[in-house]
């Protein structure tokens, strides 16, 4: 058997979902009994059959990925509970195997996968999707790129045609539930970035922190970092719209106009409000010179 075929067959076999008892799948993707498939390319020894040797790798693969996925989405686990989360994780990882050299990107496709599959969201798809968006934004805020920061001196002379950018590690999110509160409570190990090592995966059963009763509360959140820690900053609707408009490349006057259009905030209060927002954004290092293509994301 040539190298490529061996690798294709072995990868296909070990990446098949484990059984409920965490054993290797009984049949290969081509329908052949897995024992027969394993014996095609793996030698047995006096203690282990070909199948048992292949199973060591299959279990290691699944345990490693499930552990990494659980580390990235503790809030989703808290919302769904351990059994529903496990079911979601195993199905997602089977449907969307990693296509990146780093486990950091394992959950990059989760939102797109979950949106048309409400059956995995434990009776509240909006809540689960809000949490997925927040937790993916958390990963971006943790190790995403940073641009040059605009300081107070850069803002001293605001010209009408001036455009700003936002740090690419910031994600602006409109949410339907207060998932930020749930995530803060669920997050047990926020700054662990030991995502890659060469140790075989082993089954780690962690206690899932039960989520508090979710509050249906439309809100806006900026997921950002400050002093290398990730924070969720709640925004008013006007502040969210202004930041989104600035990120989209609108001039300051146009962004302000868009932000306060239809707002109940009295026009007399707006200058002071703008001053406090720009002051905070500068303090957080959020504003950057406008680039031709801006990274980051918002909705």
């Amino acid at each position: 058997m040539k190298l490529l075929e061996t690798q294709r067959r072995m990868a296909a076999a070990l990446m098949l979902p484990l059984t409920a008892a965490d054993r290797i799948a009984p049949r290969a993707p081509n329908g052949v009994a897995m024992a027969k498939e394993a014996a095609l390319f793996i030698k047995p020894n006096s203690r282990l059959t070909s199948l048992e040797r292949l199973e060591i790798y299959s279990r290691s693969y699944w345990f490693r990925l499930l552990e990494s996925f659980r580390d990235d989405f503790p809030g989703l686990a808290a919302i769904l509970g351990p059994r529903a989360f496990e079911r979601l994780a195993r199905t997602y990882l089977a449907d969307c195997p990693s296509r990146s050299f780093t486990l950091r990107n394992l959950g990059s496709g989760l939102e797109a996968w979950l949106e048309p599959r409400p059956e995995f969201a434990a009776r509240n798809p909006e809540l689960a999707l809000d949490m997925v968006r927040l937790e993916w934004a958390h990963i971006i805020a943790f190790d995403g790129p940073a641009d040059k920061v605009l300081g107070p001196e850069d803002l001293a002379e605001l010209k009408p045609g001036l455009r700003f950018g936002l740090q690419p590690y910031i994600t602006l999110l409109p949410l339907r539930y207060a998932v930020d509160e749930i995530r803060v409570r669920a997050n047990s190990d926020p700054e662990d970035f030991a995502g890659a090592s060469n140790v075989p995966g082993r089954r780690v059963r962690r206690r899932t922190v039960p989520a508090p009763k979710p509050r249906h509360e439309p809100l806006f959140v900026a997921v950002h970092r400050l002093d290398l820690n990730v924070y969720y900053r709640r925004l008013s609707g006007e502040e969210y719209r202004l930041l989104s408009a600035l990120r989209a490349g609108r001039t300051i006057p146009a962004a302000i106009e868009a932000s306060f259009h239809g707002s109940p905030i009295p026009s007399d209060d707006i200058p002071e409000l703008l001053k406090s927002w720009f002051s905070a954004w500068t303090r957080f290092g959020w504003l950057t010179p406008r680039r031709r293509t801006q990274g980051g994301s918002d909705r």
Partner: protein
């Protein structure tokens, strides 16, 4: 590989893996450590805490990069994005050499994130060596490949693991990261003499040595890096040092990680096996 480059850093001493539970201790207490090994992939990011922490470590310590997902043995070509990010990290750390595993782990763009064993064939050796050369040329830093622990062997194999290792490094003109714990684990899983493995490896190619602990199960041994180094592995280390001379040595402890002092003390046991200075009695 330039003549004697495997010995170029022979005096690097004993390092330990840089791991999260020890970071505060290291940054606050600044313990004396010869060098730290980092998992490259943990720092191949665009910004934030990982790189900030790494920069603080680099201010104080020598760092050597160890990768886990280059997959020289995968039949598919090297991942260009991976190489680009790795090169940026090489420039940042100024690692004097770089290591990754003699294994495969991806196929058709799908990643297993595991260190899967190779079929020991000439076809695989040629392909693997070609990819090591490509990476070495692109990264402009010497590469050493590490023998992995394995739990399976292939019908297709045409040679022993150590013959395969020698075949690859000769063809690629690269170094070896000799993991004596992995040799021990594989020897128990595949019923070969681990000393024969160490004795068969070209000592001139050995750039670095790994030591670690493992876990025993009823029918096999798993390379778990969660225990101290056992006596038989230390004996293999002694044999390797006798054959190769002093080599940069690294203790891996990746799971159930004890205190920094405990890990460091375990690593420093390697000094017991250092060759005696000329004229000295042991």
């Amino acid at each position: 590989m330039p003549a004697n480059s495997s010995k170029a850093h022979a005096d690097y001493g004993t390092g330990i893996g840089l791991r999260i539970p020890h970071l505060n201790h290291i940054l606050e207490r600044k313990p004396v450590v010869d060098w730290f090994e980092i998992i490259s992939e943990n720092y191949m990011v665009d910004g934030g805490r990982p790189l900030a922490v790494l920069d603080r470590i680099l201010e104080q310590y020598r760092v050597v990069q160890h990768g886990v997902s280059m997959y020289f043995g995968s039949a598919e070509p090297l991942n260009r994005e991976h190489l680009r990010r790795l090169k940026a990290l090489v420039r940042r750390t100024r690692t004097p050499w770089l290591t990754d595993h003699l294994c495969w782990g991806s196929v058709d763009g799908r990643y297993t994130h595991d260190l899967l064993p190779m079929p020991y064939t000439f076809e695989a050796a040629k392909l693997t060596a070609r990819k090591v050369r490509q990476a070495q040329d692109f990264l402009e830093v010497p590469i050493a490949v590490e023998n992995v622990s394995s739990y399976a062997e292939f019908h297709a194999s045409e040679m022993t693991e150590w013959e395969f290792l020698n075949e690859v490094v000769e063809r690629a003109d690269c170094g070896i990261l000799l993991d004596v714990n992995n040799i021990y684990v594989s020897s128990r899983n595949h019923d070969f003499d681990p000393r024969a493995y160490v004795e068969a490896v070209d000592p001139e190619r050995v750039m670095q040595i790994h030591i670690a602990g493992h876990s025993k199960f009823e029918k096999y041994i798993l390379d778990t890096h969660d225990h101290p180094v056992i006596g038989p592995v230390w004996e293999l280390y002694r044999l390797a040092i006798e054959r190769c001379g002093p080599r940069p040595t690294l203790l891996e402890w990746d799971d159930r990680i004890p205190s920094f002092d405990e890990v460091h003390a375990e690593a420093l046991k390697a000094a017991r096996y250092a060759p005696a200075p000329a004229g000295a009695r042991r």
